[in-house]
């Protein structure tokens, strides 16, 4: 689900700016290896979000001393994440409710 990937990417960037590889790794680690982001889908998503004004990017030197493109959340991105998260909670809660009934 494209919307879900976008939401995960935005979530990954709430605390700090990250480069694409770090975003993928953060999602993998935070989900305890359950969510493995398709790398081929990650970069298009990052670019799309950037073009849509949810993210900004800048080139910076990574901790390993290499030039990397760091993405960070914009105000619009934060707002978008909030609405997405809210509807996600509603949806997952609803699904859980349905599944819980015997």
């Amino acid at each position: 689900m494209q919307g879900t990937l976008d939401m995960l990417v935005l979530k990954a960037l709430t605390r700090e700016s990250l480069h694409g590889y770090a975003v993928a790794e953060w999602i993998r680690a935070t989900s305890r290896d359950v969510l493995r982001v398709q790398e081929g889908a990650l970069y298009p998503a990052l670019h799309r979000l950037e073009l849509a004004g949810m993210l900004t990017s800048e080139w910076a030197v990574s901790d390993k001393g290499r030039r990397a493109k760091y993405y960070s959340l914009t105000a619009a991105g934060r707002k978008h994440l909030a609405t997405e998260a809210q509807s996600w909670h509603q949806l997952s809660g609803a699904i859980a409710l349905v599944m819980r009934t015997a």
Partner: protein, 895 residues
């Protein structure tokens, strides 16, 4: 989530940066991943490969991301266009020939369309233009404007017409306000104020006529056209209240009308209408006798929702009632025609003919380009199949071919448009004064749109549809057909040959039509006119009724006639001169008559004949042969019983069984008062030869000629002069002017023309259409020659191997020549037969133009096929020569 356009546009300009950034970003990711994999103990090279594998199709993703910040379809289109342009530029000969061919086809169509649009299609420049109509009375099958009385009755009884305005147009002598200005003869419209309201035009300044001004006594007011106001009053803002002299009476200017009322409205025989005065009607204009006084112009407005056909049905019913009520209306019907339909006039059949022929030219052009493309496709088939097998989608192949051919079509269309524009300028500049509709021809947005649509349509016709099968090919066939030995398939050859047959057929029709038109025109212009037309000068003089009353006694008019004729005859270099009401080939006056002793029981039983009053030098001046009896003489003085001449047509029709000389005719003036009071009994003294009296293309009708001095009630103030000079007639113009000035300095000499010019004007529209059709035909024949040449050349190229083989096996040059020429000739004969059949089937388009020539004219029906066959053989000859000169060794090696 939509990506804003502004981002994409910004990306467009940072293209290179973004590309580099993307590469760096992905490379960074892959390196990081590879490093991570390497830490698990995998060798460096394998780790990099594994990272790549895990990532997926790097190139594909990069492509996808690039599309994100760009315009994928627009860029693909741009790519197709660039590719197409490269392909076209690589084959300049093909491109130039194709573009010129399309230009000819589209240009000819654009030119004719621009004329058709101006005179047939474009809406009239009036409010409610679609509701404006004209009403005609139908007398003896031909339309004529109704009488005032008829129009009044039609209007009051109609439920389909909201209003019907009756008006008239007269030639009058007009001088502007400048004191020294000499009068000139102009056309003055006589209209009610409703004339302008019906057309929905409002004055630029001032006002139009009030109902009071249309009554006798208050009518000396005038509305000027904007152009007269500009040319004679210097566009003065204080023109209102100033005076214009019309026929020696002062009229006060009350309004200036913008030049939106087109000249074609009232025909252009006597020039444009430049001003209007009130149409004053008296009670007697509506009486029973005056119902026969037809010939008025009309502007009708339909009620909303009504059509001209509904109005016609109603008017025919009312006409039936009027026929019961008034004797002069017996046998008279009515017709209502949309005003827009009257605009084309004599050009309508011309346009139908030209539209048909340019459609054929476009067909020829399409066939030619399609033929060129087919030949090229055989060469490109390989390329297309390989591109298809390398993964190009069918859609993208079609799109690319479409871009290429549409570009070709648009290029051709643009060149054609320029040619049509230049041609249009030429036509408008040449445009004859008697076809005022042509003044409105222009290249506007409508014409541009038409040209664009035509070009695109042409591109689809010649390029894309024939290209579709090629994209369906598969690698297998392409390889099997193998390189240059590919024959292009039998089907393709059949298609090409069908195209050539169609081209020849179109060509035959065009040449057939042109020949028939040229022959008609020659016959028309060189027919025996019945008089000697050399060195004749004609002119018109309008005698204003204030000083030259025609009632009760036209003494002043007759004195003018005699004085003017004498002065004309006294001019050195003038051999003969006559003052007359008409001269051939047109006599617009006619009169009812009865043969003495055979009095008609009813008015509508009386025959009508063309009629004119002249002086005693008419016949000798024009050189019309005397058939029988004697000519008018000086001894036929005014107080003698009237004598008349008749033409042969009248003698044959009414005196077939007896000698007409000394027979008496009773001439009746229907249009003024009662017939019995204006009847004139006159004795026939002679029969003269026929001269045309209804135009060059119509057989002369019976004609009666009287002496003006003996028929005072018919001696009106519109006089023509005809002068025969000993040298160039145009040299006598100034002397004629002087002669008129010496009698009355206030009278303008107008419509000055040699009789040659008058005759030439008669054939203007024919000459125009014949010239245009001739030009198109030349273009069409050229296209067909190129087409035949191309196909036969292709045929020879395809058969190189076969011909080489034949030569090796001992075929003679003649055999090879015959093989090629025979193929061409077979196609030509098929095309000619189809063309002849088509030409006869479409004869109706042409019939109106034929004069003393039938569509089955033997010299043309035999000559045209011979000429076309000759052209076809000529076009085949070069390729055939090439075939006979083939070196069999080289030919065979080629495979």
């Amino acid at each position: 989530m939509r990506i804003p356009l502004i981002q994409r546009l910004r990306a467009l300009f940072r293209r290179r940066r973004l590309d580099a950034d993307l590469d760096d970003e992905l490379a960074f990711h892959l390196d990081m991943r590879a490093g991570q994999i390497e830490q698990t103990g995998v060798p460096h090279a394998d780790a990099a490969r594994a990272a790549r594998r895990q990532f997926g199709n790097v190139a594909g993703i990069r492509e996808h991301m690039r599309d994100l910040w760009s315009f994928p379809s627009a860029e693909a289109l741009w790519r197709d266009i660039r590719y197409g342009a490269r392909v076209l530029a690589r084959a300049p000969t093909f491109t130039i020939v194709a573009v010129l061919t399309i230009a000819l086809g589209v240009g000819a169509n654009t030119a004719v369309f621009s004329v058709a649009d101006a005179v047939l299609l474009r809406p009239l420049p009036f409010t409610h233009a679609d509701r404006l109509v004209r009403l005609y009375s139908i007398v003896g099958g031909s339309p004529i404007g109704p009488s005032v009385g008829d129009a009044h009755d039609f209007t009051t009884e109609s439920h389909t017409l909201q209003s019907l305005v009756v008006y008239d147009v007269w030639r009058k002598n007009v001088s502007g306000n400048a004191p020294a200005e000499r009068p000139e003869q102009l056309r003055v419209g006589l209209v009610p104020g409703e004339f302008f309201t019906a057309l929905g035009v409002t004055p630029r300044m001032g006002r139009v006529f009030t109902p009071e001004e249309v009554r006798p006594g208050n009518d000396k007011v005038v509305v000027l056209t904007e152009r007269y106001w500009r040319s004679h009053f210097g566009a003065s803002p204080s023109v209102l209240g100033q005076a214009v002299r019309i026929n020696d009476e002062p009229y006060t200017v009350i309004g200036v009308m913008p030049d939106v009322i087109p000249d074609w409205l009232d025909g252009a025989e006597f020039g444009p209408t430049l001003m209007w005065t009130p149409y004053v009607l008296a009670p007697e204009d509506f009486d029973a006798m005056h119902h026969g006084d037809r010939g008025n112009g009309t502007i009708g407005v339909l009620r909303p929702g009504m059509t001209a056909a509904m109005a016609t049905a109603e008017m025919q019913r009312i006409a039936g009632e009027l026929a019961e009520r008034y004797p002069v209306n017996r046998g008279v019907s009515a017709r209502v025609v949309p005003l827009a339909d009257t605009r084309a006039g004599s050009l309508r059949p011309t346009l139908v003919l030209l539209l048909t022929s340019v459609a054929m030219i476009l067909g020829l052009a399409c066939a030619n380009v399609a033929g060129l493309i087919m030949a090229r496709h055989t060469a490109r088939h390989h390329e297309i199949v390989i591109r298809a097998s390398l993964g190009a989608g069918r859609w993208s192949l079609v799109r690319q071919l479409a871009a290429e051919y549409l570009m070709l079509a648009l290029l051709g269309g643009a060149v054609g448009l320029v040619a049509a524009w230049l041609g249009g300028i030429a036509v408008v500049r040449l445009h004859p004064a008697n076809l005022p509709q042509l003044a409105e021809v222009r290249i506007d947005a409508r014409v541009l749109l038409y040209t664009l649509a035509l070009s695109v349509g042409t591109g689809v016709m010649f390029g894309i549809i024939p290209a579709l099968p090629a994209t369906r090919g598969n690698l297998g066939t392409a390889i099997r057909e193998g390189g240059r030995s590919g024959t292009g398939g039998k089907r393709r050859q059949t298609e090409q040959q069908a195209l050539v047959v169609a081209q020849i057929a179109c060509c035959v029709i065009l040449v057939l039509w042109t020949s028939l038109l040229v022959k008609s025109l020659l016959r028309l212009e060189h027919q025996d006119s019945g008089f000697r037309a050399e060195r004749l000068l004609t002119a018109h003089v309008t005698l204003p009724p204030v000083r030259y009353p025609d009632r009760p006694d036209p003494g002043p008019i007759e004195r003018f006639n005699q004085q003017f004729a004498e002065r004309l005859r006294a001019i050195p270099g003038v051999r003969d001169a006559t003052v007359t009401t008409f001269f051939p080939p047109v006599n617009q006056y006619s009169r009812s008559f009865t043969l003495d002793g055979r009095a008609a029981s009813r008015l509508d039983d009386m025959p009508r004949a063309s009629f004119g009053v002249v002086d005693d030098q008419y016949r000798t001046t024009l050189g019309i042969p005397m058939i029988e009896g004697r000519d008018f003489a000086g001894s036929d003085i005014a107080t003698n019983p009237p004598v008349i001449l008749i033409n042969q047509a009248l003698a044959r029709k009414y005196f077939a069984d007896r000698d007409p000389i000394a027979q008496r005719l009773v001439l009746r003036q229907l249009s003024q008062g009662r017939p019995d009071t204006i009847a004139t009994t006159a004795a026939i003294i002679g029969v003269i030869g026929n001269t045309k009296n209804h135009g060059l293309a119509v057989e002369p009708e019976p004609e009666i000629i009287g002496l003006a001095r003996q028929m005072p009630d018919m001696n009106a103030g519109f006089k023509y002069i005809v002068v025969r000079t000993t040298s160039d007639p145009s040299l006598a113009i100034e002397s004629v002017r002087d002669a008129l000035r010496s009698i009355d300095p206030e009278l303008p000499l107008s419509q000055v023309a040699t009789i040659d010019a008058v005759m030439a004007e008669q054939t203007t529209d024919r000459r125009l259409s014949t010239t245009l059709l001739g030009l198109f035909t030349v273009g069409g024949v050229l296209l067909a020659i190129i087409g035949i040449y191309g196909v036969i050349s292709y045929f020879v190229a395809q058969r190189t191997k076969e011909i080489g083989l034949r030569v090796t096996l001992g075929a003679k040059r003649a055999d090879i020549l015959w093989l090629v020429l025979g193929t061409g000739l077979r196609l030509a004969v098929t095309g000619i037969v189809i063309g002849l059949v088509g030409g006869f089937a479409l004869e109706r388009v042409l019939s109106r133009f034929l004069f003393l020539v039938t569509a089955t004219d033997p010299t043309i029906v035999i000559g045209v096929p011979i000429v076309i066959a000759g052209i076809a053989i000529l076009a085949c000859y070069l390729p055939a020569r090439r075939a006979t000169n083939l070196d069999p060794v080289i030919a065979l090696r080629e495979s």
